[in-house]
C-alpha cells in the first residue's frame, strides 16, 4: 500500500510537469487552432538560460523568476514577430513554421551549450520526507507545490483580472472582442507568453531529474500531447487534469506491469492517445466540435 501511495505521489510530481507543458499547448491551441510543436524546445531553451544564470552565480529562485520573465517575453516576441506573418495562412503552413522553430531552438541550444549532458540543481532538499511509513521525495513534493502555485496564480489571473477576462474573450470570439475594444493580436501574444512561461516551469522542474541536454523535452512533449488529448485540447482544466492522470498512470504501469520497461514506457503514452481518440476524441473535458452547416 505504501508503494502505491508513493508511486501516486511520484506520478503527481511528473504529472505536474506534463500538466504544465500540456497547459501551454492547450492555451495556444484554444486561441488559434495551432499546435505549437516548438513548445518543448522553447522550454528546453529557457532552462538552458537558467543554467547559464545559475552558472554565473545567481541564487536559484532569482534565476527561476528571471527565467520565467525571459520566457514570457520570448513567447510574446515569437508570436508577434514570427507567427504573425502567417497567422491567416493555412494551418499546415503555420505548423511548418512551428516545426522550423523547433529545429532552430534545438540546434542553437546544442551549438551554444553543446550536447553534453549537464546536471541541473534542484532547489529542494535532498532528504526525503517521512509521513508515517510512507517516504516522499522532497523534490517530488516541491514540484507539485510549484506547479500548484503557478496554476492557482494563472486561475486567479484569468478569473479575476480584466486582462485575463479579455484574453479569454479574445480566444473565444475575436470579432466581438475587437468590437469591445480588445486588441486581439496582443491577447494572442500574451497567450504565447504565458504558454512559454509554463513551458519554462516544466523544463526547470524536469531538468534536475533528466539532466539537461537539448533533447530533454522530446519525450515530455509526447506525454504532454497525451495529457492534452486525454483532458481535451479545448480545455485548459482538462490539460492539467490530464497531465496529472498521465503522470500517475505512467508511474503505476511502470511499477506494476512487469514487461513495460523504460523502452516501452513511451508506448503507454501513445496507447493512451489512441484509446482516447477511439473512444472520445474531444477528451474528458473537451467539447465535441459542432459545426454549423
Amino acid at each position: 500500500m505504501d508503494i502505491f501511495v508513493q508511486q501516486v505521489m511520484s506520478g503527481l510530481a511528473t504529472g505536474g510537469i506534463y500538466a504544465s507543458l500540456a497547459l501551454a499547448l492547450v492555451m495556444i491551441y484554444q486561441a488559434t487552432d495551432v499546435v505549437n510543436f516548438a513548445q518543448g524546445e522553447m522550454a528546453m531553451f529557457a532552462t538552458y538560460l537558467a543554467w547559464s544564470m545559475l552558472n554565473a552565480g545567481m541564487p536559484y529562485w532569482g534565476a527561476f523568476l528571471a527565467t520565467l520573465a525571459v520566457a514570457f517575453v520570448g513567447g510574446v516576441v515569437i508570436q508577434r514577430v514570427i507567427i504573425r506573418p502567417v497567422e491567416n495562412k493555412p494551418i499546415l503552413t503555420i505548423v511548418i513554421v512551428t516545426l522550423g522553430l523547433l529545429v532552430i531552438f534545438n540546434s542553437v541550444a546544442g551549438w551554444v551549450w553543446t550536447y553534453l549532458q549537464k546536471p541541473f540543481p534542484s532547489p529542494f532538499p535532498r532528504e526525503p520526507f517521512r509521513l508515517g511509513t510512507v517516504v516522499f521525495g522532497a523534490h517530488d513534493l516541491g514540484e507539485i507545490a510549484v506547479t500548484l502555485v503557478m496554476l492557482v496564480l494563472l486561475f486567479l489571473f484569468f478569473r479575476f483580472t480584466p486582462l485575463g477576462l479579455a484574453m479569454r474573450a479574445a480566444a473565444q470570439n475575436p470579432v466581438s472582442s475587437r468590437l469591445a475594444g480588445i486588441r486581439v493580436g496582443w491577447m494572442l501574444a500574451l497567450g504565447w507568453g504565458l504558454a512559454a512561461t509554463f513551458g519554462a516551469v516544466a523544463g526547470l522542474m524536469v531538468a534536475p531529474i533528466l539532466t539537461l541536454d537539448p533533447n530533454m523535452m522530446g519525450g515530455i512533449q509526447i506525454y504532454a500531447f497525451a495529457a492534452a488529448t486525454l483532458g481535451g485540447f479545448t480545455s485548459p482544466v482538462g490539460a492539467v487534469v490530464g497531465g496529472f492522470l498521465v503522470g500517475i498512470v505512467e508511474n503505476l504501469v511502470g511499477t506494476y506491469v512487469s514487461f513495460i520497461g523504460t523502452e516501452l514506457k513511451l508506448t503507454v503514452a501513445l496507447a493512451m492517445i489512441i484509446v482516447v481518440l477511439l473512444v472520445k476524441p474531444s477528451g474528458l473535458f473537451g467539447r465535441a466540435h459542432v459545426r454549423r452547416v
Binding site: 477576462l165 474573450a169 473565444q172 470570439n173 466581438s176 472582442s177 475587437r178 468590437l179 469591445a180 475594444g181
Partner: protein, 237 residues
Amino acid sequence: MGAILEVEKLEAFYGRTQALHGVSFAMEEGGITTVLGANGAGKTTTLRAISAMVRTRGSIRFASEPIQGKSTEDIVAMGIAHVPEGRGTFVDLTVEENLRIGMYARREKRHAGRDMERVLELFPILRQRRRQHAGTLSGGEQQMLAVARALMLGPRLLLLDEPSLGLAPLVVREIFRILRLINEESRVSILLVEQNASLALDLADHVFLLETGRVVLAGTSDVLRRDDSIRRSYLGY
C-alpha cells in the same frame, strides 16, 4: 448640439467587391436614425464601415474627429459601441463577464459601477441570470445582454444591427422601449439598422433608405410615415 456622425461619400469594399457607392448622411447628437433597405442593400456594411471592420474610402467624422483609417479598437475607445448582427455574445462567458468585457475599453472607469447598476435595472432578467453562461440565454435575453454590454462602454454612439432579428414581437417592443428610454436618459445617439420598418420608424426620428449601396431616400421618420406613396413603394406597407 452638433453632429455626432458625419459620413461623406463613403465607399466600402469586401475584397474587390464594392458594397457601398458613395453614401452620405449625418446624425445629430442625441438623435435616433434608422437605416432601412432590402437584404444586401448595404445596411450592415454601413455599420461595419463606421467600425472599420471593412475597407473604406471616403470620410467619416465622429464628433467632428475623422475616424476613417483608425483601427476598430481605437474607434471603440472613442465611444462607439457596435452591437453586430447575431448579437456577438460571448457564449462561454457568464452574463456578468459579458458585461465586464463591455467596460474593458471604457474611458471613464469611475462611473462603471453606477452604469452596471442602471443596466441591471433596465434589464432585470440579466440580474437574475448574472452567473449563468450567456449561451444558455434565450434569443431575446441575449439581445438584451448585447445592448447592455454595449452600454457598459459608456458610448456616445450606439450602432445596432438588426436587433429584432429572430425575436418575438413582444420582446422586440420591449427592447425598443428601453432603447428610447436610454436615448432620453443619457442622450446616447443611436444608429439602427433594421428590416422591420414599422417598428424602426416608430423609434427613430430620422430615416434613410439604402438600395444597392446608395442612399435613395432620406428624411424624418414622420414625413416618411405619412407619405403614402413613398411608404408603399419603398417600404411595402
